[in-house]
Homo-oligomer: 323 residues x 2
């Protein structure tokens, strides 16, 4: 059996198979994943991490494809993490959108991974983060994280990115809905895709007036640009890549990138500990059918779940006094 | 200061002020919330819990309003929990949709609560669950949980419900997008709202053929009906309520309700323990700026986050060997 040291070396040497294997371990919460990530850690932190989110149907996959194409023409390597909420029944990601990415499938400079949720709340952001980091350590110049849908999960995933692009398109959920989801406020760049469709100009005006309001309230040094694209016709891609570059410059010049990185490390460390705790607890409760017995007792009304919870937590945790 | 015993008594006596207070404690993770819930527990389990979810703009709030109106005319009391993802900046829910519910504001038989996410991943489903249970214990005949958006959070929240209605409307995200989000598969009833709009018939046909496929695969004893409504014109509401009644009957007659309840208690107990652990850990890491010091060390590359995580978890948790 391959050791984690050997696998780490292969990842660092650029083996896509080794990278795929580490990512599978990460997704399956295999204990070897933590070991690999620990070994890969010194090699992380070089990739530009790009987040693409927006309403379903707005054209994220087509834009990811075009951006990838743009960077590949400039000899940059690209990692793509496409996050699909899974079906509770099939447990897997639907592949529809992925098909559009196929033209990069044979390119060794592009590594694509589709991810599905694994049931655990919050685990998805944690897992995605580690997958992005593995790609980063493997030497990818750009890692694109693309999320389907707009929700708290997506917001948490997007926090991984250095530059967040919110993709909007006329007819795919209005701006009020994006505001509700809180995504409007975390975006660094707004993209109006399908900008040749009816309603694109109105959307453009709405987004701009919203940004104006926002920057006045937040007094942010960065005013998010609004870029018009038609991904399927390759229009506006250069403008979008330029906007990404400007945002990167501003982050570095203002020192905001340090602050951003600090906040990210805080979040990630916290979530990592949280996730590890969760896994331990899951294992503990599964042992000897303990959770099942507790559920039985609650159903038979012999046990009050709130009381039982207190008891289990007390037993599970070192109290400060006990240390 | 009021004791939790007194407050619990007031909730059971039907005081909306007392109920609002308990809910605020639940939302703020006040330690007194757990105490109240423990005391309220024997009075839970009587309400019909109805979940309404669907694409943004599909008309969930208008339908909630109409369903509420329907049950009020029949002297049933109604609790409404409207879950809005919060803005990361304002921390609060946007109120637009809530305005439509105003006609019930003066009715003592209706208790409405808007909830925002509180940042913690998965905490929202847990909090919503406890808010629903408090309403249930307070004697509401029906508790409606309405979620904005379609994502993993919403799916987790919907699992609280006895009967889940997926609200679709022509032009608001197509059926493929709902399938991706996994919501299609958890719905017990499909509602085509705005059924007088163009595209409604096509949507109706698509949903029906999807259901046909699904029931063939799953061999479920329940075939989800598709109900056409125009909420703003009160059309189709009786049909929808009838479908809800049929689903309830089927759940009871088939015994599926016991299985459903068991699964729900398992999930809830697990999440409750998880959430309590999380809060303890959060407190622990905040103590003496421990997390901040760790973040500093990681930024200065003096510490490997993966190693540090292992150390903290080991310290925090009783290992089986230590017990």
């Amino acid at each position: 059996m391959i050791t984690t040291e050997d696998l780490t070396k292969q990842v660092l040497a650029g083996s896509p198979r080794a990278l795929a294997r580490v990512i599978t371990w990460v997704e399956n919460s295999d204990p070897r994943a933590a070991k690999c990530l620990e070994e890969l850690h010194p090699h992380m932190g070089h990739a530009l991490i790009l987040g693409l989110t927006g309403s379903p149907g707005a054209g994220k996959s087509s834009l990811t494809d075009q951006i990838t194409h743009h960077f590949r023409k400039r000899d940059k390597t690209v990692g793509i993490v496409a996050v699909d909420p899974s079906s509770p029944f099939t447990g897997g990601a639907l592949l529809g959108d992925r098909i559009r990415m196929n033209r990069h499938a044979g390119d060794p400079g592009v590594f694509i991974r589709s991810m599905a949720t694994r049931g655990f709340l919050g685990g998805l952001a944690q897992t995605t983060d580690n997958v992005v980091k593995a790609m980063d350590a493997s030497g990818k110049d750009i890692v694109i994280v693309e999320t389907v849908g707009v929700g708290q999960d997506e917001i948490d995933i997007m926090r991984i990115a250095d530059t967040i692009c919110l993709i909007l398109a006329p007819g795919y959920g209005d701006i009020i809905q994006s505001m509700k989801a809180g995504v409007m406020e975390i975006a660094d760049i707004y993209v109006i895709n399908k900008s040749d469709h009816a309603g694109a100009d109105q959307l453009y005006t709405e987004v701009n007036s919203r940004i104006l309001q926002d920057t006045q309230i937040k007094k942010s040094p960065w005013t998010p640009p609004v870029v018009k694209t038609v991904a399927t016709e390759k229009r506006g891609i250069d403008d979008l890549v330029e906007a990404i570059g400007s945002h990167q410059c501003q982050l570095k010049e203002s020192g905001a990138i340090l602050e951003k990185r600090r906040e990210r490390i805080r979040q990630q460390t916290f979530q990592m500990i949280h996730f590890a705790l969760f896994q331990l607890m899951e294992k503990e409760l599964a042992q000897n059918g303990r959770l099942e017995r507790l559920v039985d007792a609650i159903i038979e009304r012999k046990e009050n779940p709130y009381r039982a919870m207190r008891e289990i937590v007390d037993e599970f945790i070192h109290t400060p006094a006990a240390r």
